[in-house]
């Protein structure tokens, strides 16, 4: 990987492609989670990738490429939040749900729905910290670096996001599911 980054830093586009290809899915997933808009997510990944290519000569430590492009992606996502387009394509991934009993499935779907709706209510900044910490499993310091904010701020932003999520779920629990009402 280091060799590829060094080569890409020297202008080798094939090397850059080799670095980017295996990361693209993960980067896109992060962007989708933060932006919740397919087009905007793809655009953000594209922005970050192009910016990575352009700025590679300035990357001091090739070993930090992954963290660096993550930071570019988060920044691109925030920039995209200002101009998300209305139209969004969606390709919903099929989640394996076989071999679960009906009760478990219903409970899981309910929680999943609650979490999903809760995440939708967060700001992009809150979603970003949640995604970095809970999806990418980054230590707070790395998440802070990706977000470009101090560790303390990251921690408080994460707490705030989690509290908002929990509040949303608890609010849901207090009343019948809107979907349940509609489709009952």
């Amino acid at each position: 990987m280091r060799d590829l980054v060094v080569r890409a830093r020297q202008g080798d586009r094939d090397a850059f492609a080799a670095i980017l290809a295996p990361s693209l899915g993960r980067l896109t997933a992060v962007a989708r989670m933060i932006l919740r808009d397919e087009y905007a997510a793809q655009d953000a990944v594209q922005d970050a990738s192009i910016e990575a290519w352009r700025s590679l000569p300035g990357l001091r430590d090739p070993d930090k490429f992954e963290a660096w492009i993550r930071r570019l992606l988060v920044r691109a996502c925030f920039q995209r939040t200002r101009r998300i387009r209305r139209v969004g394509a969606v390709e919903v991934r099929l989640t394996p749900d076989h071999e679960q009993d009906i009760a478990t499935l219903e409970r899981d779907l309910d929680l999943r729905d609650q979490l999903d709706r809760g995440l939708a209510r967060l700001t992009a900044q809150q979603r970003a910290v949640v995604v970095l910490v809970h999806y990418l499993d980054l230590p707070l310091a790395d998440a802070a670096q990706a977000l470009g904010i101090p560790v303390g701020t990251t921690k408080s932003r994460l707490n705030s996001a989690r509290n908002a999520l929990r509040a949303a779920i608890e609010a849901d629990d207090r009343e019948p599911s809107r979907l349940g009402e509609r489709f009952a």
Binding site: T28, D37, W53, R93, R112, V131, H134, I149, F183
Partner: protein
């Protein structure tokens, strides 16, 4: 639920719902852009060029200050070669040469003594240059006695003349995305807002903020920092502090004026180099320049790469990966593992946009981001999943046409009010009238996913949906916003659907993203360096032509194999290889120079040289051959002019060198002696119809 339990649930949810799918063509689209976007140069690489002399009248202290200032100016110039941004526009009587190639170490000064990226101003000049997304214009009160230099690739002004490159200071501007607030100790931190940038600079290590004032610049509110950089910057390589990205590093001990300007949410940095060494007269001159500054935030980011953007018929903001139909043409795009082609009745006044990555065709209004109201919109997808409870995350996989039809018909909140048997492209199916009566509050963006691979639907609206059984695969074609279609759009879409062709044998790999196939009369527009070239293409199914999106190149072939006889390319010329790969490459500053260089180049045998005209511009037409093998060139190909394909031994060629407002456009024809009459006629059509946007 404890925090730990909740965190675990949250993580599990994120992992299970994460969508790491890479959309077809996504990587190709990025790499397409990477192919035309150059990298930013590493700043220190340019330092040796700018070891300019120091004025003889200086005291030792001033000499040191000037030396630092000049090093900074050098860095400023180097750093401000902001690759990817278009060159500046200069309105004065000076000769203006278009954006150049990034100069290499062997770059030589032009006849005015300017290095290739500089222009000297000897008279009052209006200077315009772009940062990433902003366009900045200033008036420069230059005189022969007090000239200024402006650089061509980004916003930067330096006092002095090209011959000695000495002067008391300079101005550089860039958009800020990072601030190094720890004096090179750790990576610079991203700043997303003006406030964050101001706060980061205010508390940055490695500098002393001597004064901070609230100002306006270019009509926008700004903060002006009067900074002094610490003498001791041990953690910084090469001794320079990159306080904000985009503008050059600040040397130890230097005094800097730094504006941070809030331009509608974008933070612009304007750095004043040599600030503490300026005389009152020079300060007044800079104040005059800054006072004249106009900042245009309307430059769309989408137009940045490649330069120029792939446009057609004056339609801006189009992704180079997508196709604009401002003339009738054939649109081919994937729908899952199927490849669909339709005839698009586009016109200049009523253009259409087709995405490359998936089958999505929309009529446009004024730009690729402006679809207008009442225009047509259709999308197609190979259906593999139906959301039976949209927005609740519940859906089913469907393997057959019948399963898809049943799933859609039984999906909650989906009312099917029409069901008609249809045949499309020779395949049978059903046309459904769908109305989505779903509470969309639970859906992202309040839009409803129903079928994989398609744009989400709006609640309450009615959608005609074609479901077609294509040899066991289910093709869905949805028509969007039909309620508000203009009558003529309905007829157009009917024609489009009637022309549908389905290729079931197509590879699931998308067609090369760079390949545009013309199987009907159409118009092709593509970049040629900093210019844009457009020609009419009389393609047909029997005689298809393919074009590149990245640069002007047309080949008589199909995208599937990309092989054929009949090839034309165009490019902007900056270099000519006069010695057939024997270190004889020269930089070209005018069309006259290019013509002279090609006319005397070794390795080629010019058989005729005549005056010519293309697109209304004049130039010279060369016919030449490469008679013998030259082992010095790789693959026995001579890269005579940059931008177009190298020329092979044993073939004949025609090369036009056209003067387009000071830029040189090369148009190369490969092997015309071997062309069929049809191909020759078609190439003549290209040349006759050629339009050049300089």
């Amino acid at each position: 639920m404890t925090n730990e339990q909740f965190s675990a649930q949250l993580r599990q949810h994120l992992l299970s719902t994460a969508d790491e799918r890479v959309v077809q063509g996504q990587l190709a689209s990025i790499l397409d852009q990477v192919a035309v976007v150059p990298q930013r140069p590493k700043l220190v690489a340019r330092l040796p060029w700018f070891a300019g002399g120091v004025g003889s009248t200086s005291s030792s202290q001033l000499r040191w200050a000037l030396l630092v200032a000049l090093a900074l100016i050098g860095l400023t110039i180097a750093g401000a070669i902001y690759v990817g941004a278009p060159g500046p526009r200069i309105t004065a009587d000076q000769e203006v040469v278009g954006p150049t190639l990034e100069p290499g170490p062997e770059a030589t000064p032009d006849r005015a003594g300017c290095l290739p990226f500089l222009t000297q101003f000897d008279e009052a000049t209006t200077y315009t240059a772009d940062t990433h997304s902003l366009s900045i214009t200033v008036s420069v009160p230059a005189t022969p006695a007090e000239p200024w230099m402006g650089w061509r690739d980004s916003f930067g002004l330096t006092s002095g003349a090209c011959t000695d490159r000495t002067g008391p200071g300079g101005i550089a501007a860039s958009e800020v995305t990072e601030v190094d607030a720890r004096a090179c100790a750790v990576s610079a931190a991203a700043v997303n807002t003006y406030e964050e940038a101001v706060a980061a600079v205010s508390t940055a290590q490695g500098i002393d903020v001597l004064l901070r004032t609230e100002e306006t610049l270019g009509g926008y509110s700004a903060t002006l920092f009067d900074l002094r950089v610490h003498d001791d910057l041990n953690a910084c390589s090469n001794g320079g502090l990159h306080l904000v990205d985009g503008v050059p590093s600040f040397g130890p001990g230097s005094g800097i004026g730094l504006y941070l300007v809030n331009v509608d949410g974008t933070t612009l940095a304007v750095a004043l180099h040599g600030y503490h060494s300026w005389s009152s007269d020079f300060r007044a001159t800079v104040d005059e320049i800054l006072g004249s500054m106009q900042i245009d935030p309307s430059r769309p980011e989408e137009s940045i790469a490649p330069p120029p953007a792939f446009t057609s018929g004056g339609i801006r903001n189009c992704s180079p990966a997508d196709t604009v139909f401002d003339a009738p043409g054939t649109y081919t795009a994937p729908a899952g593992s199927l490849s669909l082609s339709v005839d698009v009745p586009g016109t200049r006044d009523d253009p259409w946009l087709g995405l490359t990555s998936r089958f999505s065709l929309r009529s446009l209004k004024g730009a690729c981001t402006d679809f207008g109201r009442g225009g047509g919109w259709l999308e197609a997808s190979e259906v593999t999943r139906v959301e039976t409870e949209a927005c609740a995350g519940a859906g089913v996989a469907v393997d057959t046409f019948e399963e898809a039809l049943a799933a859609i018909s039984s999906a909650k909140g989906i009312n099917v009010d029409e069901r008609t048997d249809v045949t499309l492209a020779g395949y049978t199916g059903t046309r459904l009238g769908l109305r989505l009566d779903i509470d969309s509050n639970a859906c992202a963006e309040q839009q409803i996913p129903l079928l994989n691979g398609m744009t989400r639907f709006d609640p309450g609206a009615r959608y005609p949906l074609y479901l077609i059984d294509v040899d066991g695969k289910t093709l869905a074609i949805a028509l969007y916003e039909t309620d508000i279609w203009r009558p003529d759009v309905t007829a157009q879409v009917d024609e489009i659907l009637a022309s549908l062709r389905i290729d079931t044998t197509a590879s699931s790999e998308p067609v090369a993203a760079d390949c545009v196939e013309f199987r009907g009369p159409s118009r092709y527009t593509a970049p040629a360096g900093s210019m844009s070239v457009m020609v009419s293409v009389p393609g047909s199914d029997a005689e298809p032509w393919i074009g590149s999106r990245r640069h002007f190149s047309l080949l008589r072939a199909a995208c599937a194999d990309q092989q054929g006889t009949g090839w034309i390319e165009a490019s902007e010329v900056d270099l000519v290889d006069m010695a057939a790969c024997e270190r004889g490459t020269v930089e070209i500053h005018s069309t006259e120079e290019a013509i002279a260089a090609v006319g005397t180049a070794q390795g080629i045998e010019v058989t005729s040289q005549t005056d010519a005209k293309l697109g209304g511009y004049s130039g010279t037409k060369f016919d030449f051959e490469i008679p013998e093998i030259t082992s010095r060139c790789a693959d026995n190909q001579i890269p005579l002019v940059d931008g177009v394909n190298p020329f092979d031994v044993g073939l004949d060629y025609t090369l036009y060198l056209i003067d387009v407002n000071g830029k040189t456009l090369a148009v190369a024809l490969y092997g015309p002696a071997n062309w069929s009459a049809t191909v020759s006629d078609t190439i003549e059509i290209f040349l006759d119809s050629m339009q050049i946007e300089p």
